[in-house]
Symmetry: D2
């Protein structure tokens, strides 16, 4: 169980959300509230949009609470759209290249959950990636694989359809391999303008997801950053949150890609 936050709105210094709230992401790295595994100390990362079209990414294997570089960066960096992620490994090695968020071109992706039986599926799943994406992966996590699978399913044309198709592909592979462990995906995607967040699981236990919109500020989080300062709304299981001009939540279900 990892923990993450996505922000979009007036540019804010990252520390105002990463460090200052009562139950900030960095607090959650040491002790989160809504998960069985309370410590998210297996690396972390931030991704942010500044003056470039592509995002900056800073990923580190130290626990987030313990990295003075992160504190300094969060004090200096101001962004209108950023992601933060603290990791609790589900088995893969702790290395920067396995830390979220992952970036590719203009896009960022981060994930809480896992593809059940991934080790047994790796070979089968890898075949779903086209040649040009196959070799771009730098690490070995199921999360990075899934990010590239989204590109293979047309992420840049239609993110919602890409998510639906990619999940359908993974679940088909799991069925073919008779894997009973669930596929859980509470994740966020952005192209630097829109954010797509999803709360999905193949069983009835999708990782938690909350959001809060006020004026033009939007926060999407694994768990509320405070008890009272904001009015947090739970995203229902099987729903997707789309932040484009406005923010809408809508039911979501896997769906094989339509024939072209």
């Amino acid at each position: 169980m990892c923990r993450w936050i996505a922000y979009r709105g007036q540019p804010v210094f990252l520390e105002t959300l990463l460090f200052e709230p009562e139950n900030s992401l960095i607090s959650q790295s040491l002790r989160c509230r809504k998960a069985e595994v309370a410590t998210n100390g297996d690396g972390f990362g931030i991704g942010w949009y500044g003056e470039r079209e592509t995002p900056g990414v800073y990923r580190e294997t130290l626990p987030a609470w313990n990295d003075r570089n992160l504190r300094g960066l969060a004090h200096q960096l101001r962004s209108r759209l950023f992601f933060g992620h603290v990791r609790a490994s589900t088995g893969t090695a702790t290395a920067r290249i396995n830390c979220h968020p992952f970036s590719h071109g203009r896009w960022l992706f981060m994930h809480n959950g896992q593809i059940g039986g991934y080790e047994r599926l790796r070979r089968r799943l890898d075949q779903l990636l086209p040649d040009d994406l196959y070799a771009e992966r730098q690490g070995t996590t199921d999360s990075e694989f899934f990010f590239y699978l989204l590109f293979a399913n047309g992420l840049e044309r239609d993110p919602a359809a890409a998510l639906a198709a990619a999940i359908a592909q993974v679940e088909a592979a799991m069925r073919a391999a008779s894997i009973d462990a669930p596929f859980r995906l509470t994740a966020a995607l952005t192209d630097g303008r829109r954010i797509f967040a999803i709360r999905y699981a193949s069983d009835d236990q999708p990782p938690s997801l909350f959001w809060c919109g006020r004026g033009d500020r939007l926060m999407i989080v694994s768990e509320p950053l405070d008890a009272e300062a904001h009015q947090w709304q739970a995203v229902p299981a099987g729903h997707m949150l789309i932040a484009d001009e406005g923010v809408t939540a809508r039911p979501f279900a896997p769906a094989p890609a339509r024939a072209a």
Copy 2:
């Protein structure tokens, strides 16, 4: 609040004590039981005696639960006397040079607790070190300072007297600086043959300390490694455990060094 273990006895692979027990030190790094701060993820270290007279030391800033090198070393290394320590920083930076155990010549030292008001005392305390020890310190922790203060007080001649005198010196400096915060010291020392462990505090809350001796095997620990497999005895506050030929616990109090 840190956590530590000291072992002396038949040579054992380090993993049998660091990883295998139900409440092993590595488990305690992720979630210990008897401390307010449950996570000890701010670096760790092991020190062991092998074929050399001086100990080997391996210290790392990653959380202990997350370091595959530690797992490999603990599987390979067999030792008749070793220390292991997982750190929860009380403010000093996380760096290898600030991780326990500290070594000097044949000696190892590790510590749970802190010198109250250390930042205000640093200048005054440093003056207690003779020239030759002054420049040998590599980090900036109160623990490393105290280790060198023990040498300044004759550790190599009489460890118990050195502990008593060094604590008296620190407490005198604290009084002179009107520091109210307590000095807490649950620590272990060894020269590769004997182990000296102490449970002391200037207030009534010395960090916990337990031990278990069976045959020629001795374990001294911050908290029991299991609920039932061994019979753990609490070391009373203000006591020192001396493992020489046998193991004895005796009351301990600070005492200024006698004039030569």
Copy 3:
């Protein structure tokens, strides 16, 4: 261009070969002599056989010359067979999981060189691995891939034949993908008893390889550790060195696996 050393013989402390010679491996990490890229600072690793049948492995992303843990371990560890490797990355990320030597069961493997055009070949090459090996890889280097390909070609039954067949497979894949860049492989393998070292390239520039045997001590190295203390012999291009009871060098050529 990486640098490596393999030792077999009377148990020696690792530091006697890693640190002490005039042109020791650790010296080579900062400035080696026989390569265009003089610095091998992109991580390192050691693998050694001690009391267990499986080797211990310690890998780190810091430059070898700069890691006090390595110095301490090399002072303490004594081994009758060990590998040491300092890395100059050919592009893959610096992460512990990408450092040599790689281990699997009783075996260790380390490599200097590269598979030309690996990024374009990754997908094709991965298909050569059977299911059980496919998911065991932890990193993303061509070297780790090749190690697993050796197992797929019967490394445990006949190492020389496995090397010949694996190289033939890689070269076939390169031809099929019309890759002109060379495949260079100066590598060592061991099961903890025998050592197989190879100096091979698909062009005429295989990385250098030397060896020195005196009594029951055998050293195999990327470049001589000293100018005068030992009599180093160059391994000719396209040769394999097999250290079993004795040491023999013999011509080597890729050869497709014979049908079973």
Copy 4:
């Protein structure tokens, strides 16, 4: 011998100076041209002024050429005044807290050179620091000490006088301890507006220093970033470069502080 760069002028992305020039600082980390020790791989750091009055600082123990976070940050961060430093340790441990630049309030400091015999002098020199500065140091380098000594000598009121007085104090301590090794200081200081750079040594071998001013762009560097693109001027030994409204070079000599 370390290597560093200071920039002031129109805001530029850090990468344009850290990575892009033919002989960029990051190139120098792997192989610099004008020093005996060619590799500066013992950690690095950057400090920059953005929207805050205090600078951001990012320091890391990996070699600069090998840190993808640095590449990402240098691509994103744009600054009107920044420092970059690649370190070749003169003995002190490689730890983030020992990496340059050092920051304190609005100030940044970085240094190439060393205080001869520092280990023997540490105790004596530490006494020159007032209480409030004494405990603020986080590492154990001579460079960080000297930075704090500048504050003790009125850096904030008169940087040139503080440099002259601090050097005089260090040299007096060296004489008192009969230290023959030289004190070498090629260093840069900034408050976010002005830059003070100095090239000084107690012997005749001050580390190299160059600068280039064109329009409102100023670069001060250990060694030229290119052979032809800019006209680099050497700063003479025993000179200080002051970049205030304009840039002036003037002779510099240690001078004890005047009585208040």
